[in-house]
């Protein structure tokens, strides 16, 4: 995106339009609103609040959307980007989930971390308990690297997915990360180490099951309930060797399976779920799935994480988008009369931020917004609770005083101090321009001082925003994240909340 291509009604008046001393010059930057528009919009908000119906009955279905690493600054920047992509100034835009009626702030610290990783935060969301760094759905009494299966079982915390399964509801998991990655895995796995995704990751002699195996070898009620699981992480389900021969990935012929135990868990998914179950690994197979006829669907679309939304079109074998996966999952789950629980994770917002790549992070956020919009269209707020939140934030900032409509991926250009003056780049103390978006730390740090970004396309897909502290990867942020909600008992999302209370909102909404 380039500021030259923003066609919205920004009136950037050139100096030739300056008027004589008798008249004040028109503001160089003008928003699209008339004065009365502000008041009218405020009144409309109040009226919509009056009309708001509090659905206090039980929820038949619950859909939990998680933007991994989607802090408030990410939401703000994504909404502006989306608006600008639509030819508007951007700031007034609202992402789909920003139209939901209830909002709270979630405190994301964990039992032992001020700024948390995804394992304890997702554990808090789906079990109701804050937990330890790097551990999935086990309580904080669990030792780091605990390998005793009996101890892990004793310390396991029942997840909302497992509660739903035990009440006869269908369940589903959709993610753009690996299905065995911390956020999705916390919904079905119990382990002292988030990295134990395949048996090759387990320490020698460790008695617990790896995460991929836990997905396949669920207790009866979860196995029957878990109707759809879509995401990445294929290599964690495939063996290194089969009958003495290397097992290579179907899409990447140089990549092998990661399992030492020789098991092909993709075929085990099909064999243990019976007729009507299916496994797919590319877009055409996914498209061919009839949700009405398929009873259990496993989709693994990459050996590791799925592509960033920005790169998805480059994948030769094709991958479904988050929206397409969410829609297919809802179609499958809606068959269950008892209702369903579905978790949908936009897992790669986090990874793009870690790489200091704001544009990819924002495009994945927009895809999450698309998926939520689709889910809103496919469900009724009378019987389906939709929650949208993040597990944690990132050290991602929106800074400076850019003028209204300034390219969110561009260099900061201020509102001129004198009306009628041309817009100019804002400069740092050394006279260099800077971008609106940046990171407090990460790989975007430039050695040798700040660069001159004039003439650099800072909106390019591979541009890394500048970072203050040099680090190989940008880190998570510790501030609160937002929770957006609609549907039955969604009004329990309110004010400042501990992250683990969100579990109770879902649990209570279901009427468990």
């Amino acid at each position: 995106m380039n500021s030259h291509h923003i066609p919205w009604r920004l009136a950037v008046l050139v100096p030739s339009m300056a008027v004589s001393a008798c008249f004040a010059a028109a503001p160089t930057v003008q928003g699209p609103e008339a004065v009365q528009d502000w008041h009218n919009a405020g009144r409309q908000f109040i009226e919509s609040g009056k009309a708001l119906v509090h659905h206090s009955g039980k929820a038949r279905n619950v859909i939990l959307f998680v933007g991994d690493g989607m802090g408030v600054s990410t939401v703000t920047a994504a909404r502006i980007l989306e608006g600008q992509m639509q030819g508007r100034s951007g700031e007034e835009n609202r992402l789909s989930f920003e139209t939901l009626p209830y909002l709270g702030l979630s405190k994301t610290y964990s039992w032992d971390q001020q700024t948390s990783d995804s394992a304890p935060t997702m554990t808090a969301l789906v079990t109701g308990y804050k937990a330890r760094e790097g551990q999935l759905s086990v309580n904080h009494l669990t030792a780091r690297g605990e390998c005793d299966a009996a101890v892990v079982k004793a310390n396991s915390l029942k997840t909302i997915l497992e509660h739903a399964a035990s009440r006869g509801k269908a369940t589903g998991i959709v993610t753009t990360a690996r299905l065995t990655h911390a956020t999705p895995a916390a919904t079905y796995a119990h382990t002292a180490a988030r990295d134990w995704e395949a048996d090759s990751n387990l320490p020698s002699g460790c008695g617990v099951k790896d995460i991929a195996r836990q997905l396949i070898e669920q207790p009866d009620e979860v196995r029957k309930s878990l109707t759809v699981a879509l995401g990445g992480g294929r290599s964690y389900f495939l063996p290194k060797l089969s009958h003495g021969k290397d097992v290579f990935d179907p899409e990447y012929p140089t990549i092998k399976g990661r399992r030492n135990d020789g098991r092909d868990l993709t075929s085990e998914w099909v064999s243990t779920r019976g007729a009507g179950s299916a496994y797919v690994w590319n877009k055409s197979q996914f498209n061919a799935i009839d949700p009405l006829r398929t009873t259990h669907l496993l989709g693994l679309f990459e050996p590791s994480h799925m592509q960033y939304e920005a790169d998805r079109a480059l994948d030769p074998e094709g991958e479904p988008s988050l929206t397409e996966m969410a829609a297919k999952a809802i179609q499958m789950l809606q068959k269950r009369r008892a209702g369903y629980f579905l978790v949908v994770e936009a897992g790669r917002i986090d990874h793009a931020h870690h790489g200091g790549n704001a544009r990819r992070a924002l495009l994945d956020t927009l895809e999450l917004s698309n998926a939520v919009r689709k889910a809103m269209e496919m469900t009724s707020e009378r019987d389906t609770l939709i929650l949208v939140t993040a597990d944690h934030s990132h050290a991602f900032t929106i800074a400076g005083y850019p003028h209204r409509g300034n390219d969110i991926l561009g260099l900061v250009k201020d509102v001129p101090a004198v009306d009628g003056d041309p817009i100019a780049y804002a400069r740092d103390a050394n006279g260099l321009p800077y971008t609106t978006l940046g990171y407090a730390n990460g790989p975007g740090h430039r050695t040798g001082g700040r660069p001159d970004l004039l003439g650099v396309n800072t909106a390019a897909m591979n541009f890394q925003q500048e970072a203050t502290v040099p680090m190989g990867s940008e880190t998570h942020g510790g501030e609160d994240v937002a929770i957006y909600a609609r549907g039955p008992r969604a009004f329990h999302v309110r004010g400042s909340m501990e992250q683990n209370w969100i579990f109770h909102v879902m649990h209570h909404a279901f009427g468990f």
């Binding site: 090759s200 960033y308 897909m461 040099p470």
Partner: protein, 254 residues
């Protein structure tokens, strides 16, 4: 010694970046195109049309042993490192002591990168998508040559010929030298001035014994995208720190 090599790499990247006339050398130490990864022209320009005759756009497989020597004024002798280089049509390997860097290109032209820590029996894998996220668009030819051909292309064509081609830095007065082995399509000798003194790399074709292809071993593979979530893992910290020291995550053209 590893720290020395890492330090050399870092300094050479900085030095080579300064020396516009022979920017190619930058890639010797930044491991080829990575140091220039954010220069899209690098990828976009096929070598063929303007390439000197002594550059081939499909260099033959080769194995070589490269010796790196840092000469510091006032000190006797040189600090020495040895790299082992192996090039085939779709795989390029560079072993720097216990850390090996492997680039792969599949039949669809997708390039991925493994950094292999043999002592730890672990691999950090960068998929093509992850490389893009880090702002890296690898240049296969730059990787294949061990040096970036851009700078060489700009040198006078009259220097072209067969055998060993001596190339001086394009700008007079600079001490950089590149002796190009046009038979093996490798730099035979590179000299770069660095802050500490002078760094010389000499490469000779030699049968190189590299450890077995890592995919056939029982190495633990970590996706580069996951390093950030593994701060508790000493290995992940080491792998991330190595990237920073090598500069390829933090080396920007602007």
């Amino acid at each position: 010694m590893e720290m020395l090599a890492a330090a050399l790499v870092h300094r050479l990247v900085a030095a080579a970046t300064r020396l516009a006339g022979i920017a190619a050398v930058c890639c010797v130490v930044g491991w080829a195109a990575l140091a220039h990864a954010q220069v899209p022209a690098h990828l976009a320009e096929p070598l063929a049309a303007s390439a000197p005759t002594w550059l081939q756009d499909q260099p033959a497989p080769v194995m070589a042993r490269c010796r790196l020597e840092l000469f510091v004024p006032g000190r006797d002798g040189a600090q020495v490192r040895e790299w082992l280089f192996s090039r085939s049509a779709n795989q390029i390997r560079l072993l720097k002591s216990e850390v090996e860097e492997v680039w792969r290109r599949d039949e669809r032209g997708r390039i991925s990168f493994d950094r292999i820590f043999h002592a730890d029996r672990r691999i950090v894998r960068y998929s093509s998508g992850e490389l893009r996220n880090f702002g890296i668009t690898p240049d296969w030819l730059g990787l294949s040559y061990l040096v970036d051909p851009r700078g060489m292309r700009e040198l006078p064509a009259s220097l072209g010929g067969s055998g060993s081609v001596p190339l001086q830095g394009a700008r007079a007065g600079q001490p950089d030298q590149l002796q190009w082995d046009s038979v093996r399509q490798l730099p035979a000798r590179v000299v770069v001035e660095v802050r500490e003194g002078a760094l010389r790399m000499t490469c000779l074709e030699a049968p190189v014994t590299l450890l077995p292809a890592p995919d056939s071993g029982d190495y633990l593979i970590t996706d580069a995208a996951d390093l950030a979530d593994m701060a508790y893992d000493p290995f992940a910290r080491k792998a991330a720190a190595l990237e920073v020291r090598h500069g390829w995550r933090s080396a920007h053209q602007h």
